[in-house]
């Protein structure tokens, strides 16, 4: 791991006042490390990377990263990233979100970014709860579990992030956990390389709120649960459907080839330019129809 630590330092903002704000034992730092390793392996220049986040614990990640970084509003990171990507198509735009951020307040932006197939990489850190505000239930909180706003047990079924992404039109969908750090950076690397809307669900945990409310123990014990409750896609093939349903399945769950939004929008520009036939602004502008 010493080598990886060294890699990470080159991508961190050393002038930012560390330590970070996350609880000791949190999985978000592992995702940040995986993201850095993926970018390093692709060999991207720091100037050509933008990291955009929403609100919540995950939203604080960009400030530590020495890229073009934007900490936006709750749920809207993808909408900001859409504008940024369209204005600067050469930027690799990576969007880091939490489960509540991406799927509750940002759910509409999420499905529409996937449908449009904007060339963005969405990393959703799924800790099953709103951590920063103190453990309220999120759209991925499992049935019967406790949250500060579900003191008697949760009665809403959760969103399956990857299945939702596939249905909405994402071109690349993968899942791993913060226990599987190396696998996670490989998946993030593939997602960044993929042209189109790609989603990586990084299953994490929140021992501070969710773990405490549901008596799941320390971060170490929650990390162990991720290890024991997850299974690779290949290994899952051998399981019965009811066994599969209880497992976190890891790997590339979906990958298709289709043109991204900007590629298609180039055609709009070509058609429009053909229509105007190379006229100057003012000829095409007010009065230009005369």
């Amino acid at each position: 791991m010493a080598k990886d630590d060294h890699t990470a330092y080159a991508y961190l903002r050393t002038t930012k006042k560390f330590p970070n704000i996350w609880c000791a034992g949190c999985g978000i730092g592992i995702v940040m490390g995986a993201l850095i390793r993926a970018i390093d392996r692709i060999g991207l220049d720091k100037d050509e990377v933008a990291v955009v986040s929403g609100i919540g614990c995950s939203g604080r990640m960009p400030v530590y990263l020495d890229f073009n970084t934007m900490h936006t509003t709750h749920g809207r990171a993808l909408a900001f990233a859409t504008g940024l990507k369209l204005a600067q198509p050469n930027l690799k735009v990576i969007v880091v979100m939490g489960d509540g951020d991406a799927l509750a307040i940002g759910g509409n932006h999420f499905i529409h970014a996937a449908r449009r197939n904007i060339d963005l990489t969405a990393i959703i850190i799924n800790n099953l709860i709103y951590g920063m505000t103190g453990g309220q239930y999120s759209p991925t909180t499992p049935l019967d579990m406790r949250a500060s706003t579900a003191p008697y047990g949760h009665v809403e079924p959760p969103f399956p992030i990857c299945e939702l992404s596939i249905a909405a039109g994402a071109t690349f969908v993968a899942r791993s956990t913060v226990y599987h750090a190396v696998e996670l950076d490989r998946l993030i690397e593939k997602a960044i390389r993929k042209v189109g809307f790609s989603v990586v669900e990084a299953v994490s945990y929140c021992h501070t709120t969710y773990g405490r409310l549901n008596r799941m123990g320390s971060s170490v014990e929650m990390m162990r649960m991720l290890k024991e409750n997850s299974i690779s896609l290949a290994a899952a093939e051998n399981l019965k459907p009811e066994e599969r349903a209880t497992k976190i399945i890891r790997g590339v769950l979906h990958e298709v080839e289709k043109p991204d939004y900007l590629t298609l929008y180039q055609k709009v520009i070509e058609h429009a330019k053909a229509a105007v036939d190379g006229k100057e602004f003012l000829r095409a502008g007010p009065g230009g129809l005369e």
Binding site: T72, H109, I269, A272, A275, F281
Partner: protein
């Protein structure tokens, strides 16, 4: 010079293009939709981007993202959509991102009357987003002014790194008027200040270059952090009072110290006026009609048309209000900007003329107020 008949909404689109806007994100809503339709047709011809987002929240977010990417960006909406945009108007103010938001007002609250005119969003344009923040709000009274003030809105947004709101009346948005195409050299376009310092010296929210720090775009080699949190000179979140307070002072000062540039208004016959009408938007044209008739009847009536309604032009109103016996404030709402006029000249002098039923204020209503009926 080419003369044509042009609709107000169309003029906003052409104004945006003339100002260098090459990015539009929006969501369809009456009575602003012609702006989107026009730019969907025209922007791609110039290599620009038009995108219809999933809602108004996303629309302004995309504009801010595009602006960070170096493009001049605009969105247009009406009351219900403007309500949704408030969150990101605050973000743009906090992060100092230039962008233009057009609100073609309709009768509210709620769905109200989509095709009826209203001036009901005066206070929302100033205070709609939470927290104290600087803002500039411009207000045209005609189709040619819709063009000019859209250009001005972009210029002010770029110059002061701030969101600028263009408020319009449905009447102006949908009316068609004679429009004389200005020659392109007559259109003054201001671009945001860039920087040439080495990237490691660059402070995205620094105060070394006046009150408006230069803003290179993402991807240009200057990597920095943008957040809606209170931040230090580098853009990093801070809770230190010695970093927060200078920021608050600077972003308000960058507007308040440039009022002579920002406040646009027109005074007519105010020198000898015993009654001064203070009006904006389409109502100012009713007021001018009323003033002319009153003058024919030897009433000493003047008119101040406000093209910048926020920041509120206190000094002007104070000056004209000092000599006037009465200040008439006609508005297509139940009295919003009148509150500001009353604050400046005193309640006893102000006569409000209001209606909020989706109908224009006819000159006769203002004449009645002038004559004290």
């Amino acid at each position: 010079m080419v003369v044509r008949l042009m609709q107000g909404n169309e003029a906003v689109g052409w104004g945006a293009i003339a100002a260098g806007c090459r990015f539009y994100a929006g969501y369809p809503i009456t009575p602003s939709t012609e702006i989107a339709e026009m730019l969907a047709r025209e922007l791609p011809k110039l290599g620009g981007i038009f995108i219809q987002m999933e809602d108004e929240i996303a629309s302004l977010a995309a504009c801010i993202g595009a602006s960070v990417g170096g493009m001049k960006a605009m969105t247009a909406t009406s009351g219900p959509g403007f309500s949704l945009m408030q969150e990101h108007i605050g973000y743009a103010a906090m992060a100092e991102i230039p962008c233009v938001i057009v609100n073609v007002q309709r009768l509210g609250p709620s769905t109200g009357q989509p095709t009826s005119p209203s001036q009901g969003d005066i206070m929302q344009a100033r205070w709609g987003t939470h927290g104290d923040h600087p803002i500039i709000v411009l207000y045209p009274t005609s189709v040619p002014e819709a063009f000019d003030l859209t250009v001005t809105a972009f210029n002010m947004a770029e110059k002061y790194r701030t969101p600028v709101i263009l408020l319009m009346d449905e009447v102006v948005a949908h009316m068609r008027e004679r429009f004389e195409t200005p020659p392109s050299e007559a259109i003054r376009v201001i671009d945001r200040m860039g920087t040439s310092v080495p990237p490691e010296w660059y402070k995205p929210f620094g105060d070394t270059v006046g009150d408006v720090p230069p803003m290179p775009s993402f991807g240009s080699g200057y990597r920095y952090h943008i957040t809606g949190l209170y931040h230090d000179l580098m853009g990093y979140p801070t809770q230190r009072l010695d970093e927060i307070n200078p920021w608050i002072e600077r972003v308000h000062r960058k507007i308040s110290a440039h009022l002579e540039d920002i406040l646009l208004y027109r005074e007519e016959n105010t020198e000898d006026a015993k009654v001064v009408i203070v009006a904006y938007g389409i109502t100012a044209r009713s007021a001018r009609h009323a003033m002319k008739i009153a003058r024919q009847h030897r009433h000493r009536v003047g008119l101040v048309t406000l093209y910048t309604i926020w920041p509120f032009p206190e000094e002007v109103i104070l000056r004209v209000g000092r000599t006037a016996r009465r200040v008439v404030v006609p508005e297509m709402n139940l009295g919003q900007l009148a509150l500001e006029v009353e604050r400046v000249v005193g309640r006893h002098k102000v006569v409000r003329v209001n209606r909020a039923d989706g109908t224009m204020i006819a000159p006769q209503m203002i004449l009645d107020a002038i004559e004290g009926r």
